[in-house]
Symmetry: C2
Subunit: 746 residues, 2 copies
């Protein structure tokens, strides 16, 4: 009768849109590990198996690093080429992008290095016209046309093949890492379609970045590669460790910042992050970064996306403008989150959401039409940021560096002071317009049904604001050398303010305001400059920005989107601050019918089947008897259904009147009764319990730290009720005066 | 009768050498926070109080950073001066160290920059002799004499004033952070004495470093500063958050590596490290680093202890020697831990431990006598490491850079290839001798009754081994350009191997082998070089070293010392791998007398006092009745004693026959009985329970993650037994075949 001790297929797996039980998963992994270790003493083969099992994690990390690094390189190269395609094509070979095309050219001087005869704008190609109003219109038209084409392809592919490929993916990944199951979200189709559409979306010139989606792509790689290793394929908890590392690799390739990537994964996305994972994540992030560097998509052997080198130190007084930038970043973050969430809610609840293709096309058309006339909006956002971060050298041809006496270095060899030339003034105007456009259009772009990251647009907004302020400060210092504040550190003729640093600080502030990242933000920025020197300004801005933004709304953009979509995510950072007790939250409430329980040795198969069909609970407590209500264990609905079905099929004589028992030994039966059904093996004999007087703050803590699905409530040893993760989430929402029904997955 | 609802002084505090209850401490802090928040709505003053309370954490971090940075600067400067004092004195002013003395001198050429007339060796000063055998002997004698004097002062001060100031302090800090209480360990006396004796110990020339003790010093600062803030003074859990941040600041100033410091705190020392702490630690670490830099103790405006800049990239093939260094580091780590622990155990158990002063003097004498003749042992260990890391430039006068054609750069402007000159060969011999001395003497030094860190000696061992291997590789490449492996990347005339990088990799490997740090180690090393380029070699070496060392013994040096001293530390990294159940661990065991319990409303004061005097348990479960054994709550021995004493003093009519009740309402009493005593307010109504069939791996997990002191065990709703943290630790030791009685604090 004990043949049911054999594992039944399906027992211990999860349905879609359910939460995993971390404790059970980890126990299962430990069992597996114990078995392998014990066997390893028996034979050499088993020993090799045990060693290979121990190293499979590292191998997996290596593969994830290699794959996500390669994909990131591929995406970079294709996006670069397709972005240039909107403006023209290379006659030497259509597969060259603008820069590459002109590199190969022989007829280019250094100063006109981006104008070469091999590169043809569309007007040249179609009508052999280079200048003039008509050529401009043709180029304008082609620009918009390509943009619309790319956007249309992107949204259609997403809609038809992989609806999960849209957005940045980070809110969903956070939810998945916290233990939720969304099948297919990290599948191969999502990977393929997201990679392709990400290139299309970036190339279309929309105000979006590829950094967030790259995290999603890396997580898809991680998830898919997990299938090659038994250890990770079968265990949801172990798989999530791998996904945490993959997220680190994603950020690592997005910014070329491996340490920042690991801290991002730790701080922002991960839920369960043991130290072993920290070390492995670091390895994966490093492999990914070096793979990307050996592909060398930017053609400059640099690991980082925006490489900056500043020459002048900053002055203590400059902390004032840096903190102002922090305040700006915080305000922008709070404003963006509010308006974007309001717009996304509108999209969800009105007719708007039914026409994603038209929405994308309209936004693309508006973006492209407004972007083309202004060179700062026409260039890709990451190029723009790169130019804003740049400290003007002598050879820079950018308008932003058009200072009046840029070519006459002073005698002492120091850099000259810099009165702004006409180029700088016109650049200021264009940048101001760019700022307004980016602020407005990003609100409508993020959340559309295409892959869209938020890092780059946020950074662009901050970088523009920072550069504007920086140039302002610089000119102020130039024109008022005698003011006390400048006097002390700006000796005449010396360049004492670096507008590029202001741009960088502004970018950090805005990114911080939107995402509420802290350490990882500063470390990513630190890895861009490589100098500890500039950490203090960055930190000051990031701190101010977070405080300002937090004062206006507690949630970062990812948490806001999680709540908007109603994912069951239990935030690990927020303290639960209310003084309620477990008895206030548990089901059944005071006037509800009693808790549905099973008894350990007196219910028939039919009784149990009736309970299963009449309720929708995902599990049932098992008690000694209804009278005593003394708890024995907990059994999951899914396991119960599978086991009964299995027994009815395979075990002789199990009928509806068979007694189900959960005890060690079968209960004494009168003769001529049908055979009994033992289900102790699916019974969880160590359910978590709390007393009814336990403060909810402790219950929330237990749920978070142990990753529970449910917890039973007792009073003086008697079973009283049950609290599930969803009850906890509902209660938290209720306490925050939110609609508790909106928080369930829909 | 409810006047006892008022808090009784003493209830909720802990005895020395006890473990705190994290859950209770955190609840208390939340209560406090809730109260302040609620009040803040009432008046402006309360609002200001609430805001200042919120920012007090940041202020505290700022103060810790400033204080620990200043102390580190002070220690650096004094140790530098006193180390030089062993060799001579400056006639310009005795407070100048050698370098500083010769800086001020006018009569020095660049090449002889460390020889100036103002600096007098002892032989010059005493007998006006500069050269010759007798002068040498005088200097030798003075060197040993000063070393003995410093060591004697250090050990006497520690012995007389602050016995806790000895050692590195990291094992104890780990234990304290995990929730243990050792009063005075982080007190002001320890701070003062540790600071002074650290300088003395470092100056005495013993094979020890100041990095570990700096962490202890920073934690003392943190603990002392906590007393200025109510929020942290009264709450043991909050205080431990501050200590985690202080540990980060300590490493930050030790190496000039703020990010590495934070990761060290996260990875190595901390137990409970919420994200808020991460951000604050980073702030403290940064402030500390910048304070140290503005003090500028090394006189070079560098933040980092060993600043290195390498010019040549490494080649993939070089991973082979790097991995060899990793293996060496792992072997050294394992060997060191075993021998050091064996020696320390001998010290604890034999007569040896009774004469700490004599022991220190003997080791100092041996070290000084052996060290003086060899210039690499005579210089301070951090100078040695610095020289070993250094990539030879054209102007280096070190013997290690004595290459034959160092002054003729090749035509192409590349660095020449470098046949070793006689200086290099003699340096190799001296370094080999230094290596042997360091390896042997460090084993005996670490653990003596003076402040002693392990980072620097470990790094020195690795750096020497690395440099030896590096020079070997370099000469091999020079002499065998035609070998296939060198052929591909070493073009003739080019310098393709950087021995300094080998030294650095070796240092990382040895440090990793001893401490088993991973991410933090690599990040600290990365912050020294500032280039992502060299992370891969460092990581390869650190990984190999950890694997090799782990294969030979699971514990790092700190964990080994924790176990040696029997601190109750529950390691968070190790998985508990055995298949035992809660019922196998709980007390009472099968044949023991029944569990001592209190009943909720039927015991008299006398009954309870008898139980208290007859047992030594630190707490008692309260049940409904002895027959039902249904659990109501848990009451701590200390709280019970204090409350009963208090009631006997203050509450009228409480006598030995008074009934103690823990229920909401007093039980019905016959008339003319003495007044009852209500103790519900000291009853923990939400004790943690597990079932008797819960696997121990889950129990261990709960203890770790929630920071419990004890957990009650039930079976089918009836109370069965209790598991304390010590039971868990004993069980783990038993399972690992260790003597379970050795693990208790003694």
């Amino acid at each position: 009768m004990d043949f049911l001790e054999e594992p039944i297929p399906g027992v211990g797996t999860y349905d879609d849109f359910n939460t995993i039980d971390w404790v059970r998963e980890k126990s299962r992994d430990r069992d597996r590990h114990r078995e392998i270790t014990n066997k390893s003493k028996e034979s050499t083969w088993a020993l090799i198996h045990s060693v290979s099992d121990a190293f499979s994690g590292w191998l997996l990390m290596l593969l994830i690093g290699l794959l996500s690094g390669s994909l990131a390189g591929l995406i970079d190269i294709s996006a670069h080429w397709m972005t240039d395609l909107k403006e023209g094509i290379c006659t030497e070979g259509f597969w060259f992008n603008h820069e590459h095309c002109c590199w190969n050219s022989q007829q280019v001087t250094f100063e006109d290095r981006d104008k070469c005869p091999e590169w043809n704008s569309w007007s040249q190609l179609i009508m052999s016209m280079e200048e003039g109003a008509f050529a401009y219109i043709v180029n304008y038209f082609m620009y918009v046309l390509w943009a619309l084409l790319f956007a249309f392809l992107a949204v259609s592919l997403v809609k038809v093949f992989a609806p999960y490929a849209c957005g940045s993916g980070i809110p969903e990944i956070k939810t998945i890492l916290s233990g939720f199951i969304i099948r297919g979200y990290l599948g191969k189709w999502t990977l393929v379609i997201k990679t392709i559409t990400l290139v299309l979306a970036v190339s279309s010139g929309l105000s979006l970045g590829k950094e967030g989606p790259l995290v999603h792509v890396a997580c898809c790689c991680g998830n898919i590669l997990c299938h090659c290793f038994n250890k990770y394929r079968k265990n949801e908890a172990k798989r999530r460790e791998v996904l945490s590392a993959a997220a680190a690799a994603g950020v690592s390739v997005a910014f070329g910042a491996p340490i920042g990537g690991v801290l991002f994964s730790l701080e922002e996305v991960s839920y369960y992050f043991p130290l072993k994972t920290l070390w492995r994540s670091f390895f994966a992030a490093l492999v990914a970064a070096f793979t990307l560097r050996s592909i060398n998509p930017f053609g400059n052997s640099r690991l980082v996306l925006f490489y900056v080198e500043f020459h002048t130190p900053w002055h203590l007084f400059e902390l004032v403008p840096f903190i102002l930038l922090g305040i700006f970043g915080g305000l922008w973050g709070a404003l963006f989150i509010r308006t974007n969430i309001a717009w996304c809610r509108k999209r969800k609840t009105t007719q708007l959401g039914k026409y994603p293709v038209i929405e994308v096309l309209i936004v693309t058309a508006i973006t492209a039409i407004l972007a083309f006339p202004n060179e700062y909006t026409r260039m890709s956002t990451s190029e723009l940021i790169s130019e804003l971060f740049n400290d003007c050298g002598l050879l820079d041809s950018s308008k932003l560096c058009d200072y009046e006496n840029r070519f006459n270095t002073s005698k002492s060899g120091e850099l000259p002071d810099r009165p702004a030339g006409p180029g700088v003034y016109s650049a200021m105007w264009q940048l101001a317009l760019t700022l307004i456009l980016k602020i407005v259009i990003t609100i409508f772009t993020f959340g559309m049904k295409i892959p869209s990251g938020l890092f780059i647009p946020s950074m662009a907004v901050g970088a523009i604001a920072g550069r504007l302020l920086g140039v302002g400060m610089e000119q102020l210092a130039y024109n008022h050398h005698d003011w006390a504040i400048f006097n002390s550190w700006c000796s005449q003729g010396a360049d004492c303010i670096t507008p590029g640093l202001y741009a960088m600080v502004g970018a950090a502030a805005c990114l911080g305001g939107v995402t509420r990242m802290t350490v990882s933000l500063v470390v990513i920025m630190f890895e861009l400059t490589g100098g500890l020197e500039y950490i203090v300004p960055l930190m000051a801005a990031a701190m101010t920005s977070k405080w300002v933004a937090d004062a206006l709304g507690r949630e970062g953009i990812y948490d806001a989107h999680i709540r908007l979509n109603g994912y069951p995510f239990l935030e690990a950072k927020e303290e639960f601050a209310h003084k309620t007790l477990a008895m206030d939250v548990m089901k059944p409430r005071r006037n509800d019918p009693l808790l549905t329980v099973l008894t350990q040795d007196s219910m028939t198969v039919e009784d149990v089947e009736t309970i299963i069909s009449e309720t929708t609970y995902s599990g049932f407590p098992v008690v000694v008897s209804r009278e005593s209500q003394r708890l024995v264990g907990f059994v999951l609905r899914r396991d119960l259904i599978i086991s009964i079905e299995n027994a009815r099929k395979k075990q002789d004589g199990v009928v509806s009147t068979s007694i189900i028992y959960f005890t060690e030994h079968s209960p004494p039966m009168p003769p001529y009764t049908p055979p009994t059904l033992k289900l102790r093996n699916i019974l969880d004999l160590s359910p978590f319990t709390v007393t009814d007087l336990t403060p909810m703050e402790i219950v929330v803590d237990i749920f978070r730290k142990l990753g529970l699905r449910q917890c039973l409530v007792t009073h003086n040893g008697r079973l009283l009720g049950i609290i599930t993760k969803k009850d906890v989430l509902k209660h938290i929402a209720q306490m925050a005066n939110q609609d508790p029904d909106s928080i369930l997955f829909n």
